[in-house]
Subunit: 242 residues, 2 copies
DNA sequence: GGGTCGCTTTGTGGATCCAATCTTAAGCAT
DNA sequence: ATGCTTAAGATTGGATCCACAAAGCGACCC
């Protein structure tokens, strides 16, 4: 908490920090649906939005391309990738295995406090989605945050940073607003999601690594199947803009 | 005067293709040990080496940074990451889980021909490393290729492109010449590696998914442990250049 | 009236420019 | 000799420039 005047200037980021920051902000716009699937990304527009030149924007786009979130067409710019249902299933199968491993590892390291934290996150998520469905909450972002927290907490408790990163890498491939909306809008999905989380939690609390892994694997595969179905439906529908 | 053949100019790459190509070539230099661990990467040098300007080189470096192969220090350029032993263990634990999944999936899809292909790759690898240890072969690159082939083949047979990519992403984090040298130079490691591959192969041939996964998991964890030990030894030794 | 050719516009992408920063080394003082 | 200050050189990193490619548009020809 220094009163140093370094605070005055917004500490203009530079280099890798700037590029990563730009990538984050662009990714966020996609994750929340602000930039919809299939939309074009104009370098000049992004650059002026963020108050930088096109150079760092291009580097950020290149990163997003590597992660698969966007596709860059030669001389024609970048578009937000439209996930193929089969790709969703493949990705979620991998994610399921990784999160299962995370849950199994977490059993040996989780504390009583952390279990309570997870319980709170799960309860919060349920409350948010209920509020949303009754029209109280304005958007699904709170819900998404709580749901993400549940999973990232377990990943971090696993104590394997690489594992957490691998899981995150896969998640960053698909816009998150879609899966959030699925849970929020469909009461069956909502309840099921809540109960699956509860079961995972119980296994963690019981110290049963085997069961925690199995429950987690099933949970993620289920979620992937829901998401894949949504994209299937979408692609079979006549496109009519966002 | 130049002949009007477009063939002479090697179809100059551009855009993503160029950047990916540069990243590949730089990664290769690191993987083979041509650029050793901890070495500096100068943008201008790489640019002139590859006959391009610094702009695409920087984008390529950014990609390698994201994958973790190099570290970029603000205003001070990039250096090849020096893997920490604990990071190696973590990464290989993840890789083990992924490859185990790949092996389990491969059981249901593998053909008789592919089993034979794997057997050949494994045999080749053994022959290469024997030749190397008796001084016949000049380097470990052939060995590395065969070993990589064994693993990438199984990953691709799994039929899950995401899975193959996830495995590859982890592998690209660590220079490969080290693990190859380990196997080539130590006859105990060499024999063990060969036999572990054989056991995986047998499980695949028997159609036993459970065992294939278990054998593969063990094999990768073992390899990771060897590699981690090597880096431990290295870091505890007084640095004396490469 | 439909299709094709060519011009114009828009945007990407590598090359270049220059400011900012880090490193090195020399100079100066203690 | 040691340590601090400062000037020069090297290198990064964002901004700008310009060549090229692709989509849009209109005129012209059949």
């Amino acid at each position: 908490m220094t009163i140093e005047s370094d605070e005055l200037a917004p500490a203009r980021k530079t280099g890798a920090a700037l590029v990563d920051d730009l990538a984050d902000r662009i990714r966020n716009r996609i994750m929340t649906g602000e930039i919809p699937i299939g939309a074009q990304l104009r370098q000049a527009e992004l650059a002026s939005d963020f108050g930088v030149s096109r150079t760092p924007v291009r580097e950020a786009l290149r990163q997003l391309q590597t992660s698969g979130l966007i596709e860059v067409l030669p001389n024609r710019g970048a578009v937000v990738s439209v996930p193929a249902p089969w790709d969703v299933r493949e990705a979620y199968e991998v994610r399921a295995e990784l999160e299962a491993l995370a849950a199994a590892r977490a059993v040996r390291r989780i504390t009583r406090d952390q279990i309570e934290q997870l319980r709170v996150a799960n309860r919060e998520m349920y409350d948010y989605s209920l509020a949303r469905s009754t029209g109280t909450a304005p958007d699904e972002r709170d819900h998404r945050r709580s749901n993400d927290l549940f999973h990232t907490l377990i990943a971090s408790i696993s104590g394997n940073a690489r594992l957490a990163k691998a899981i995150n890498d896969i998640n960053e491939t698909f816009p998150r607003n879609v899966s959030a909306q699925l849970i929020v809008n469909d009461s069956r999905h909502r309840d099921e999601n809540f109960r699956e989380h509860e079961r995972i939690l119980q296994a963690l609390a019981d110290g049963d690594a085997e069961r925690a892994a199995a429950e987690m694997r099933q949970h993620v595969v289920d979620a992937g199947e829901q998401l894949a179905r949504w994209y299937e439906l979408r692609s079979s529908t006549v496109f009519r803009g966002e």
